[in-house]
Symmetry: C2
Subunit: 580 residues, 2 copies
Amino acid sequence: MDKILRINMGGLKGPEVAIDTLGDYAGLGGRAMTSTIVAGEVPPLCHPLGKNNKLVIAPGMLSGSAAVMSGRISVGCKSPLTGGIKEANSGGQGAQVLARLGYAAIILEGKPLDDTLYKIIINQNGVTITPANELKMLGNYDLVSIINKEYGAKVACISIGPAGEMKMSAATVAFTDMEQRPTRHAGRGGVGAVMGAKGVKIIIMDDAGLKMRAPADLEKFRIANKLFSEGLKKHSVTGEGLPTFGTNVLTGVINEAGAFPTNNFSTGRFEGAAKISGEALAELENSRGGEGSATHGCHKGCIIRCSGTFTDKEGNFLTKQPEYETVWAHGANCGIDDLDTIAMLDRMDDDFGLDTIEMGATIGVAMEAGLAEFGDSKAAINLVKEVGKGTPLGRILGNGAAVTGQVFGVERVPVVKKQSMPAYDPRAVQGIAVTYATSPMGADHTAGYAVTANILGVGGNVDPLKPEGQVELSRNLQIATAAIDSTGMCLFIAFAILDQPETFQALVDLIGSFSGQKFTADDLTALGKSVLEKEIDFNIRAGFTAKDDRLPEFFSDEPLAPHDVVFKVSDEELDQVFNW
Amino acid sequence: MDKILRINMGGLKGPEVAIDTLGDYAGLGGRAMTSTIVAGEVPPLCHPLGKNNKLVIAPGMLSGSAAVMSGRISVGCKSPLTGGIKEANSGGQGAQVLARLGYAAIILEGKPLDDTLYKIIINQNGVTITPANELKMLGNYDLVSIINKEYGAKVACISIGPAGEMKMSAATVAFTDMEQRPTRHAGRGGVGAVMGAKGVKIIIMDDAGLKMRAPADLEKFRIANKLFSEGLKKHSVTGEGLPTFGTNVLTGVINEAGAFPTNNFSTGRFEGAAKISGEALAELENSRGGEGSATHGCHKGCIIRCSGTFTDKEGNFLTKQPEYETVWAHGANCGIDDLDTIAMLDRMDDDFGLDTIEMGATIGVAMEAGLAEFGDSKAAINLVKEVGKGTPLGRILGNGAAVTGQVFGVERVPVVKKQSMPAYDPRAVQGIAVTYATSPMGADHTAGYAVTANILGVGGNVDPLKPEGQVELSRNLQIATAAIDSTGMCLFIAFAILDQPETFQALVDLIGSFSGQKFTADDLTALGKSVLEKEIDFNIRAGFTAKDDRLPEFFSDEPLAPHDVVFKVSDEELDQVFNW
């Protein structure tokens, strides 16, 4: 990981490849890398789809090594959805393979002179870029299948579906998993639209002949990795809850807490929750047998293994086991209590290259606008089909909830910085509300997952219904998350490191022993703060102010059942989140 | 004009009427009234379509009096298009009639509990509000025709078409002219959507039995009015150019200057300009004879009489004589050189209740997106038909160029603060560019019409292609305009008062003699500054920053033919516009 692959897609004779040394970017990884490059190289007022935006893809600091859980990759740019800086994070094989190929980042820049679509092939011999117009408008599944036939079944792919080609603000960048399926997505903020605007359909990476990245201090690294693994296995969430039920273990918990946004954030409990819970999902998958009855990881080196496989009624693979956020977005938020429908929508989103959170929130807004009834599974599927086809209605929906709300004159639109809120009602989980409001990413649960102390009793306890303590909780989590997102570590390690000091220390030691440089807990905090500071500075230069760190007014006006609570953290408190 | 009509459309038992004294609003009119009320009463972060926004309709300080040209009315709110404060200004009979009825403002507030549509009738006996669901989705023409049958042909109407009911961001508030046609519109910023969100289809005003407003000092007023009238008649623009050819006299002038935005702002001269010029329009109208061969005013008391009538090939009334901005928007900007097409589009916009500038700019963007070819008249008409029908495509277009650009992934979108630019390319008229960039209204030529000194040689001469002097020019014009928009005077008086000191003094004396209070030129300047300060303060509280006072980057990157010029006023200079 000692070089940067910089590709100017706007070259007069076609794409121009440059392989740079790291320079000032040495030592950075993941979100620290993408946010540093975007903040430093992208003019904050540029058009997100124009020549001055850049798409940066960076594996984490530890990616490509033997460190468990180190397979996360960051995709950064100026977001077409929010207009601010964006880092969207994905699992899959991309991080490990790109890191082993030696690239700390891929930077796509410039604007193509025509509408030629390209594929980029990266292996130990170098980088090849060729026109690939035959791949135009293919879904991610067909695309990867064709690529596998040509390049073998061991390559890792980074791709966009039709949504990215159509430059939709809900478009994702897809990453293949260990089964060569495009099920892992840098989902949020329209990063796929920027890849589409650069004219790149797919990046095919082959690390054949290349080795794992070696730590500087092998012995210390091995010890830290062992302690870290043990810590993850002994924590109830990472050792038991996630492996058994996947992320959808949360449906029961959040619904019980009265924080499960239902029918476009109009109430906090969904009567169909039991039908779509993690328990129901596991039972359904097990009953269908075959591939669906086992859980597994999304990348090599994962030991939590929260992922699964969803087979249809005939026992054929349909999609990955839908994540909690997807089950909520396409389920409760649209009044839908049918897992087969939710799985079908998940498959379609992955195939078209769409953010499941944004799409579920958008369909909720469309239902509020009267385009369909809440609970109408068939209508929801048809709406997402429109997106794939790129009809005018599909173009609206594919650009997310904020645009859909404006186009149809809907007032109840659950977004911050135009990005849709995830699966926790901010009125009933006021810590996550602070994260939604203030994260430079827009509404994003992963940016500071206060559900931990608010609901799960992890890392302390803070009453979710009251404003007290939420700002501090969110602040600390946002700092920690910005750091973790830079390491390449899966965010789910947070459960164990928040509760177990020795597991936290093992993480710190993993980083230090890998780089061979002294690294302390304070360094991790400093890293997180520095990433956030760069992101916030970019947003300020892009015209954001404290006024953008606010929830839509209905969260302060309309009490949420069953707790009849409104959002109570004051503006003044929100403005203190980044005051450290 | 000693009272304010305040209607809460969100009353539990239906609309609640309150007739207030003026209080702190005494002495204000037009834009000063709407902006003061909006800035003082509307929470800047509220949803524009929600219960906390207010629609304020206010005649000017001199409206309803014998002062010539005093028939302008202001409509204000938080804009659904820009998210900032909005004052949209209209001619027609509304100002004079509302002023004679004694109301300095109508304020529509609150949010209806259901989707009942109402009509409001105001006459000397008071105010009546009744459900009028039978009027739902009527175009403005059919609507006014029905109302005239019921209420007589002398009422003045304020109404919305289907676009306002659908809460589109390009929706207007229509005002009837002297011929009882809904041809005059408070066009910009989606004020019609706010009226739609309040559930009001039409306000019917009958001033039968009421007199003109009397000046405090009749003698002085008469003298000033006479001098003022003489001044307008002797100036070449107001005495000759506008009466002869209407506003479309500008097509030849601006095209010759290389500043006529063509094919979505891609070049500065339109080869079909001669076919759509004011001269060609006058010739066509004269050749068809009848009503079309005469010009007239849009309201009683107008002596410039720049308006006309457009009859179709069979000699039947089709629409008002299209204004220059409309001829440009639906003509050159879409590559269309056919006056009958442009007139048809004008008629459709007026009927559906749509801003012709926003719609022309939007269709230009849609053409750039590939939805139709530039120059395709039939396609342009079909696109506007979609808006009237409210299809998904129509909903996109009806929400303006910024939304259309995002939905179709187009980069060349000529907007500031999401509002479309009017008919002067900012690269070739750099003074108007400063106004576009900095006006709190978003891109708006009427907010500070620097075309005067840049192109027309009115009020001095400032080279339109260079940055020097543009900030001062725009600043002074923005201040003067904010004041004029508060008086109820038609903005076209500016030509004469800029060039003729005695005409300017006559205006000042008109205001002073009417109110009976000392009023000087400095007071007019102070009024303009105070209005702008309130507007800017609202926008800051709504989250706007200097970053919103910028043109899209392509105006700095892409030279405009024929002068091969880019926008050159620096950001630092732009930030000095309101530094007085």
